[in-house]
C-alpha cells in the first residue's frame, strides 16, 4: 500500500486545509490575535461595501480589482458563521485544483507507472503547510496560483483560447502574469528551438521573429487582450478612476516603505524620507528599479528558456520577478511555489542533495536573519534599518540570484533521457 495515490493525496490535502480552517475559526473566536489574515478582512469589508452598492475602495488598503469583492459576495450572506469563511474555502479549493493540475501536467511527462512520482512532486504544493496556511488564513494568492497553472495547462494542451482568457484574467487580477505573455508567445512560435550552436544572436532573433507570427499566437494575443480589456473596462465602468488608481497606479506611486524582504526597500525608504539627499549626489536609481526586473523576467529569460521548457521558464521568470521586485512579502513566494513542482524533477537541487540542502538553508536562513532583524525593529524598537535589515534584504537577493543561476543552468542543460520522456508527454498531453 502506498500513500501516493491521487485519492489519498487529495484527501490529505483537503483534510489539511479543513483542519487549518476549523482551527482558524477557533482561534478567531477565542484569541485577541486572529488567525485570519488582515487582507481577508479587507476583502470581506470590500465585499460588504459592494453588497450595499458602495465602492469597494471605501475600505482603506483595498488594492485589488472590484471583481474580487464581487466574487466574495457570498461572504456577506447570513448566517455569517458559515458564509464569512466562503472566501477561505474558495482560496483553499483553488489551491487543490492547482495541485491537481500540477499532477496532471507532471503525470503525462512520465509513463503511467511513474504517476506516483508525479504525485510526490505535486505534494510539494498540495501538502505544503505554508501554502495551506496562506490560503486558509484568507490570502487570495491561491486564486492566482490556479489561474497560472490553468494557463500553463491550457497552453500545454494547445487550448490557446482558454489560455488567453486565463492570461487576461490573471493580468487583470495582479498585473505580474503579464511576464508570461512573451514566454508563451515564444513557446507557441513555429521557430526552431534555440541551440548553443546557433551562429549569432542576430540570426537567432531573426528566426524567432519569423516564427512568432502564427495562428496560435494571434489567438493567444487576441483572447488575452480581449479578456483583459473587457474586464478592465467593466471595472472602470463600475468604479471609475478609483479602480485604476488603487489597483494599478498605486503600485507605481506608493510611498509606504514598510520594511519587507526586497533589496530595494532601504534605498526606497531613504529616498522617500530624504529626497534632498538623492537629488544632488546620485541619479535616482530607485526609479529605474523596474528595469533589471523586467529585462530579466519578461525579456531575457523567455528568450533563453521558453522553447526549452515552458513550465520551468515560467518558474524562473516568476522567481526573478519576485526577487527583483520593489516590494517582497512572503505571500509572493506562492507565485513561484505553484510552479516549483514542475521544475523539481529535473533540478540539480534534487540530483545533488547537498546543493539542494545548501540552497534551501540559504533561502530559509537569509529570511530568518531578516525576520530576526525585523523583530528587533518592530517589537523591540531597535534601529535595525541599517545595517541589519538592509544587509539581510540584499543578502536575500544575492541568494535568490544564485538559486536563479542554478535553475537557469538546469533548464538550459535539460534532462537527457527525461527530456525525451517529456517530449513524449507533451505529445500525449496534446492528444488528450
Amino acid at each position: 500500500m502506498t500513500l501516493f495515490t491521487p485519492f489519498k493525496i487529495l484527501s490529505l490535502s483537503l483534510l489539511l486545509r479543513l483542519s487549518l480552517l476549523l482551527y482558524g475559526l477557533f482561534q478567531d473566536a477565542h484569541s485577541p490575535l486572529p488567525y485570519t489574515d488582515v487582507d481577508y478582512y479587507v476583502f470581506t469589508d470590500a465585499a460588504r461595501f459592494v453588497a450595499h452598492s458602495a465602492s469597494p475602495y471605501a475600505r482603506a488598503t483595498y488594492r485589488y480589482t472590484p471583481l474580487l469583492a464581487y466574487i466574495l459576495h457570498p461572504t456577506t450572506w447570513s448566517p455569517q458563521y458559515m458564509w464569512f469563511s466562503f472566501g477561505k474555502v474558495l482560496f483553499a479549493a483553488s489551491d487543490i485544483v492547482a495541485g491537481w493540475l500540477i499532477y496532471l501536467i507532471l503525470s503525462v511527462h512520465w509513463k503511467q507507472k511513474e504517476n506516483m512520482r508525479a504525485l510526490k512532486f505535486a505534494s510539494v504544493w498540495l501538502l505544503n503547510p505554508f501554502v495551506a496556511t496562506i490560503s486558509t488564513r484568507g490570502s487570495s494568492e491561491g486564486l492566482l496560483g490556479v489561474m497560472v497553472i490553468g494557463l500553463l495547462y491550457a497552453i500545454l494542451r494547445q487550448q490557446v483560447v482558454f489560455g488567453g482568457v486565463l492570461l487576461g484574467l490573471g493580468v487583470h487580477f495582479k498585473i505580474y502574469p503579464v511576464i508570461y505573455a512573451p514566454a508563451l508567445v515564444l513557446y507557441l512560435s513555429s521557430a526552431p528551438q534555440p541551440s548553443p550552436s546557433t551562429s549569432s544572436p542576430f540570426a537567432y532573433l531573426y528566426q524567432q521573429a519569423i516564427g512568432i507570427l502564427n495562428r496560435a499566437n494571434i489567438i493567444l494575443t487576441l483572447t488575452s487582450l480581449t479578456t483583459f480589456t473587457i474586464l478592465t473596462l467593466a471595472m472602470y465602468h463600475l468604479e471609475g478612476w478609483d479602480f485604476i488608481q488603487h489597483t494599478y497606479l498605486h503600485h507605481l506611486t506608493r510611498s509606504d516603505h514598510r520594511h519587507n524582504f526586497s533589496a530595494y526597500n532601504t534605498l526606497l525608504h531613504l529616498s522617500s524620507a530624504y529626497p534632498a539627499l538623492g537629488s544632488s549626489s546620485f541619479p535616482p536609481f530607485e526609479r529605474l528599479a523596474f528595469l533589471p526586473q523586467i529585462i530579466l523576467s519578461a525579456i531575457l529569460i523567455p528568450l533563453a528558456l521558453a522553447k526549452r521548457d515552458i513550465a520551468s521558464c515560467m518558474l524562473t521568470q516568476t522567481y526573478a520577478f519576485v526577487g527583483f521586485n520593489k516590494v517582497v512579502t512572503s505571500q509572493y513566494f506562492v507565485w513561484y511555489l505553484v510552479l516549483l513542482p514542475l521544475y523539481l524533477p529535473e533540478s540539480s537541487f534534487l540530483r545533488r542533495p547537498r546543493l539542494g540542502l545548501l540552497a534551501l538553508a540559504l533561502w530559509v536562513g537569509s529570511q530568518a536573519v531578516w525576520l530576526q532583524q525585523g523583530y528587533q525593529l518592530e517589537f523591540l524598537g531597535s534601529p535595525t534599518f541599517w545595517p541589519g535589515l538592509w544587509g539581510s534584504g540584499v543578502g536575500f537577493l544575492a541568494v535568490n540570484c544564485w538559486i536563479l543561476g542554478v535553475m537557469i543552468q538546469d533548464i538550459r542543460i535539460g534532462r537527457g533521457e527525461e527530456e525525451q520522456a517529456k517530449t513524449d508527454g507533451a505529445k500525449k498531453l496534446k492528444a488528450l
Partner: protein
C-alpha cells in the same frame, strides 16, 4: 485641556478674563496650508452652537509664545497691568482662548491652582496678590467664592463675594448653575497613570492604569478616554472592530476617530496634524474596590525621519538613530446624561470645545478622573527608530552594486557556454542534451 479639573471648584477660586478688541489676525499661517493640516471632527451635538468645526493639536512645552504675542500685540501701549497679566499667563494651569468672529472679541480665560507672584513663583500657602485696575474703560471684577453643597447633582453652587474695581463695595453672593464638568469623587480618590508598555517597538501600547476599581457616578454613565495623537501615531480602526481584541484591551468600543487615519503612510507623507480618538473603556465590575486595573490603547507608529536641521539636538538624535515623539496624557472621564432642559452654558466658568464634548449630546456631564499628579509632566515620550541618513551613501552604493552584480550573474547564467560547465557538474548528462 490637561486641566486638573477636580481642582477647578476648589475652596478658593479666581477667574480673570480680559477681553480685548483685536483685528482678525490671530492666525498668521497661510490659509491654503491650514486647510490641509486641520481636521473636521465628527460632531454629534450639532445644537451646541459654539462647537468647533475644525480641529488642530500640537504639544507646546510652554506658553511663552502666547505671552509675547499678548504683550506686544494685544496690550495697549504703556499698560503695565496688562503686561503683568500677560506674563502670568505662562504659569496658568489651564488656559482657554475664545474668539468670536462676529463681535471680533477675543477672550482669554486662565486658571491658576494657586497664586503666582510677579516673579513667576507659585505660592504654596495662602493667596496673596494685588490686582490693580485697568484703564477705566475696562472693568475688572474680582470674586472670592467657595464651593457650597449643591442641591442638584448636575449643579455647582458657589458662595462668597463679588466686587467690580472702582465701582462699588463687595457684594455677598450665592449662586448655583448646572455644570458640564465635574470632578469624579468617591471615598478614596481614584487616580489614573499613563505609561507606554516597554519595549515600545513600532506598535506602542499606551497603558492607562487605575489605582482602584471605580463605580460609575450613576448607572447610566460610561467611562471614556480621549487620546489626542500626533500624526506620528495612529490607531487602526479595523483592528478596533474585533470584539475579542477590544476585550483583551479592556476597551468597549472605538466611539470616534477623527483626523489622519491612513494606515501605511510615513509621517512625512501625511498632511493632517494627527487624530483624536474617543474610546469607551470597559472597567471591570467591582469585586474589590482596592484592586487596580488597566486599559490599553494599541497604537501604531508611522515611519519617522531625522529632523532636517542639523542643530545640536538633531545631531544627538542622529547618533543613536532614533527620534523622540511625545503625546499628552488622554483625558479620562465618565460621561453621564443630564436631565432634560439643563442649560450648561449658563455656567460662568463653562468650558466647551475641548474636543471630546462635541462628540456627546449637549446635555452630557463629564465626571473627570484625576491623573496621578506626582508624575510631573502629563506627557509621555518614546524613542522611535529611524533610518539614519548618514549611511545614505553606503545604502545607495551597496544596493545598486548588489542589484547590478545579481543582474549580471543571472544574465551570465542565461548566455554562458554550457559545455565545460555541464561537463564538470553533470558528467554524461549535459553533453547528451546539448
Amino acid at each position: 485641556m490637561k486641566a486638573v479639573l477636580d481642582k477647578t471648584f476648589g475652596s478658593t477660586l479666581t477667574a480673570q478674563s480680559c477681553e480685548v478688541q483685536i483685528i482678525s489676525r490671530l492666525v498668521a499661517v497661510g490659509a491654503d496650508k491650514l486647510q490641509k493640516v486641520l481636521t473636521r471632527p465628527s460632531i454629534t451635538s450639532e445644537r451646541l452652537a459654539s462647537s468647533a468645526s475644525l480641529q488642530y493639536h500640537e504639544t507646546s512645552r510652554n506658553l511663552n509664545g502666547l505671552v509675547v504675542y499678548v504683550k506686544e500685540k494685544l496690550c495697549p501701549k504703556g499698560e503695565t497691568r496688562c503686561h503683568k497679566d500677560a506674563l502670568r499667563l505662562a504659569h496658568a494651569d489651564h488656559l482657554d482662548i475664545d474668539y468670536d468672529a462676529v463681535s471680533q472679541t477675543l477672550t482669554i480665560s486662565a486658571y491658576f491652582e494657586g497664586a503666582v507672584s510677579d516673579l513667576g513663583e507659585k505660592q504654596r500657602e495662602g493667596w496673596d496678590e494685588s490686582i490693580s485696575d485697568y484703564a477705566a474703560s475696562v472693568p475688572t471684577e474680582i470674586g472670592i467664592l467657595s464651593i457650597q453643597k449643591a442641591t442638584q447633582p448636575e449643579e455647582v453652587s458657589l458662595g462668597g463675594f463679588l466686587i467690580t474695581l472702582d465701582k462699588d463695595k463687595p457684594k455677598p453672593t450665592l449662586f448655583s448653575f448646572p455644570s458640564r464638568h465635574h470632578a469624579y469623587r468617591s471615598n478614596d480618590k481614584p487616580l489614573f497613570d499613563v505609561r507606554f508598555d516597554t519595549p515600545t517597538g513600532l506598535h506602542p501600547t499606551l497603558r492607562l492604569t487605575f489605582n482602584r476599581t471605580q463605580a460609575p457616578p450613576a448607572p447610566s454613565c460610561s467611562m471614556h478616554a480621549y487620546p489626542v495623537l500626533p500624526s506620528s501615531l495612529f490607531i487602526d480602526k479595523y483592528q478596533m472592530s474585533s470584539a475579542n481584541f477590544l476585550a483583551s484591551n479592556n476597551l468597549r468600543a472605538l466611539r470616534a476617530l477623527d483626523g489622519e487615519t491612513d494606515l501605511e503612510a510615513p509621517v512625512w507623507a501625511v498632511e493632517k496634524w494627527g487624530s483624536a480618538v474617543l474610546l469607551e473603556l470597559a472597567p471591570p465590575t467591582i469585586t474589590n474596590a482596592d484592586e487596580g486595573w488597566s486599559a490599553t490603547v494599541p497604537l501604531h507608529l508611522r515611519y519617522q525621519r531625522a529632523p532636517a536641521s542639523h542643530d545640536a539636538a538633531g545631531n544627538a538624535t542622529a547618533k543613536d538613530s532614533t527620534v523622540a515623539i511625545s503625546i499628552p496624557w488622554p483625558v479620562v472621564f465618565w460621561a453621564c446624561p443630564a436631565e432634560e432642559g439643563t442649560k450648561m452654558s449658563t455656567n460662568p466658568f463653562d468650558r466647551a470645545n475641548l474636543g471630546y464634548d462635541g462628540l456627546f449630546g449637549p446635555r452630557t456631564m463629564f465626571y473627570h478622573v484625576s491623573p496621578a499628579a506626582d508624575t510631573g509632566s502629563l506627557v509621555e515620550s518614546i524613542a522611535v527608530p529611524i533610518l539614519d541618513p548618514q549611511y545614505g551613501a553606503w545604502i545607495e552604493q551597496g544596493t545598486v552594486g548588489t542589484i547590478v552584480l545579481g543582474f549580471l550573474w543571472v544574465c551570465w547564467a542565461l548566455v554562458r557556454p554550457l559545455k565545460q560547465q555541464s561537463g564538470k557538474a553533470l558528467p554524461g548528462k549535459g553533453e547528451k542534451a546539448d
